[in-house]
Amino acid sequence: MIVELGHYALVLALATSLLQAALPLAGALRGDRALMEIGTIAAKATFLLVALSFCALTYAHVTSDFSVQNVWENSHSQIPLIYKYSGVWGNHEGSMLLWVLILTFFSALVALFGNNLPETLKANVLSIQAMITAAFALFILMTSNPFNRLLNAPGEGKDLNPVLQDIGLAIHPPLLYLGYVGFSVCFSFAIAALIEGRIDAAWARWVRPWALAAWTCLTAGIAMGSYWAYYELGWGGWWFWDPVENASFIPWLAGTALLHSALVMEKREALKIWTVLLAIMTFSMSLLGTFLVRSGVLTSVHAFATDPTRGVFILIILILFIGGALSLFALRAARLKAGGLFAPISREGALVLNNLILTTAAATVLTGTLYPLALEALTGAKISVGAPFFNMTFGLLMLPLLLAVPFGPLLAWKRGDLPGAAQRLFAAVAFGLVVGCVVYYAQNGGPILAALGIALGAYMILGSMMELFLRSGLGKVAAGVAWRRLSGLPRSVFGTALAHIGLGVTLIGIVAVTAFETEHIIEMKPGMTAEAGGYSLRFEGLRKGNGANYSEEVGHFIVSGDGVAMGDITSSKRIYTARRMPTTEAGIRTFGLSQLYVSLGDDMADGGIVVRVWWKPMILCIWGGALFMMAGGLVSLSDRRLRIGAPTRSKKPKPVLEPAQ
């Protein structure tokens, strides 16, 4: 009954989203306030209905109602409760429902907090959001209905894919979708602006918080996914340039560009047309990512199941929205007036460089991802474009950007002083070089490129703090004065610094792991020791164990440094009972920012076991940097200038949270 209610709620949500798509748009055209107001109500109603539907599916999963096909295929009565919850989106149908839930959540947020948007803009935005909602709700109902019943309810489910039975599944997809789908709001704002044929700095100020929020979530989602793959798959890798990863990384690159170009537009009214195009492209890349992951053109752990009709359906959605948006852009873009002028060397110039490099890099990743698909469709030849391609192209293209990052904030708007900025960055450059020399020396030579890479990271970290030092006058004025100046700076300055520092931190992690990681594959018998990263690892033996829904073989190791025992590592191989599927659970121990990573291989005939031991120096920097970036996003988001609807200092407390009449 509850399941049918969920199904019915989803159908109703489709109906309300169709109303929300048509009426406010018509209202905005005719200047009819009542019609426009319907959008606000409909957006809230749609969200509630989709949430109801989602709760119904969750209920079916948690109570293990195997008469529901989706539950039967992807759940099991024995799995721990948390995976019954997260298993709701651990499958195609449920994850699409989560996609729509988050989409309607964002629409509802616009409806709730968009009170100080111009009426027509708000109405148009809600209408575009509803069109996307309707398309995907229809997709779910037509091709991927999670509420299908089975005639004869089986007694037991087919189990959730063991790789997905991890806390990562509870966190990664929702965060990723919050990011992916969050960019839909920017898209809708862009389309609404094109429909009205009018766009100004205020538009950028309204769009930026949404872009920032989506970008922060996407950063978190990608970083979380990367860490999850790292510890769960047992291969010791943290990024594989897998098409599915690229599908989330391309919107991230485009979204990062959007954040920066919206800044130019907000401050200087320049780059209007470009910003609108970027807003369209960012969400288009999200849609394309959804298509790649969900249509089954790629096989991966993310393509839960495949069905050609789904691929065609999403492709049609993709063509309608991207094609429609770009056509509208072609028709209307000329109407948007170009904005202020600036010299090539200026803050705007730096941000244009940022955009140029980020979009080119995104296009490169996109090319590498789609080329094999296009080639196969056209000639039938099967190729794989792997990590070497992406490392070469993406790495080289990003290099100038990384060098330029600290310069950006130090250049003035309109006309910047490059030698002046370089002079101010002298300390950062010197710091970077010193760090590089220390690394080179400490590694007894070692690869010179690695030392340079770490030097670059160190330069970026100090260079990104430079604006804070300069603006507070730290070292030149009394500490108290400097502190007061520092606390008076707008939060967005701190946000910028944090995010840029994060980039440097991530870079250091990537370079250190790539250049200095060690990997040993050893046959070990109990009592043997292996050396890695200056620690020795003694194999104590294997024991058998049983978990809630798996049996496992656990290898026990004792780590010691300089003869002193420092703790133990357990690494296991599991066989999940329901699917008879083996998985490897890596054993990881953290030393500072570095990790010792142990995974088990095959048993040997003589009682030994193959063990793979990695030393991963500084690896936590990779995700630590992402934490800095997220913190940067959140701090910027809390800047009062960006608080939704606070373009100017308001005289009285804003009635944003007042209940709707």
């Binding site: 894919n161 790789v163 047992g234 089954g296 790629l298 096989t299 991966s300 752990v301 495949t306 050609p308 002028l341 600036f342 010299a343 090539p344 110039g349 244009v352 140029l356 490099i357 080119t360 296009a363 490169t364 090319t367 590498g368 080329y371 030849a381 099967k382 190729i383 794989s384 474009v385 792997g386 070497p388 391609f389 070469m392 192209t393 080289l396 293209l397 594959i521 046959e523 191989k573 699917r579 008879r580 599927m581 083996p582 998985t583 490897t584 995974s599 291989g601 095959d602 040997m604 193959v610 793979r612």
Partner: protein
């Protein structure tokens, strides 16, 4: 600088960056793209020794041998032809005899042994590498059950 010069500088810089990027992408493609073959294709393929390819097929039953410790040899077959493969490392969890596999690497210059540096198996129990499944299906090899692929 005049207005025109400013615009020219920005556009010129952008275009030259884009051209550099396109050249870089083309160069990288020529360097690092690996073609996919099943054993039956290799006779026609005429590969230069050392060319990186992806070799797909089934792990032939009864051919998996563990040499000294980490080195493993096995044959990849499309049921008609077979290729001996040597691999040093830990095999993926789902590597089994009679199951689909993709090995990445190059042929040894002296012998006809394919030296793999990466071995990928199925992602989970119900699917097999798409490239393998497609090609085997073309050759009329039925994999039984759910594994006869799309």
């Amino acid at each position: 600088m005049t207005r025109k010069q400013k615009r020219l500088a920005i556009i010129g810089g952008g275009v030259s960056f884009l051209i550099a990027a396109v050249l870089l992408v083309m160069f990288a493609f020529s360097q690092s793209v690996a073609y996919f073959y099943v054993p039956g294709d290799l006779a026609k393929a005429d590969l230069a020794p050392g060319t990186r390819i992806r070799l797909g097929g089934l792990v032939e039953t009864g051919t998996v041998k563990r040499g000294d410790g980490r080195t493993i040899t096995f044959s990849v077959t499309d049921t008609l032809d077979r290729v001996p493969v040597r691999y040093t490392g830990i095999l993926p969890d789902l590597f089994r005899e009679g199951q689909g596999v993709v090995a990445e690497g190059a042929f040894d210059a002296q012998s006809a042994v394919f030296v793999a540096d990466t071995v990928l198996a199925k992602h989970d129990e119900t699917y097999m590498p798409k490239d393998v499944a497609d090609r085997l299906a073309e050759q009329g090899v039925s994999l039984g059950g759910k594994e006869t692929i799309r």
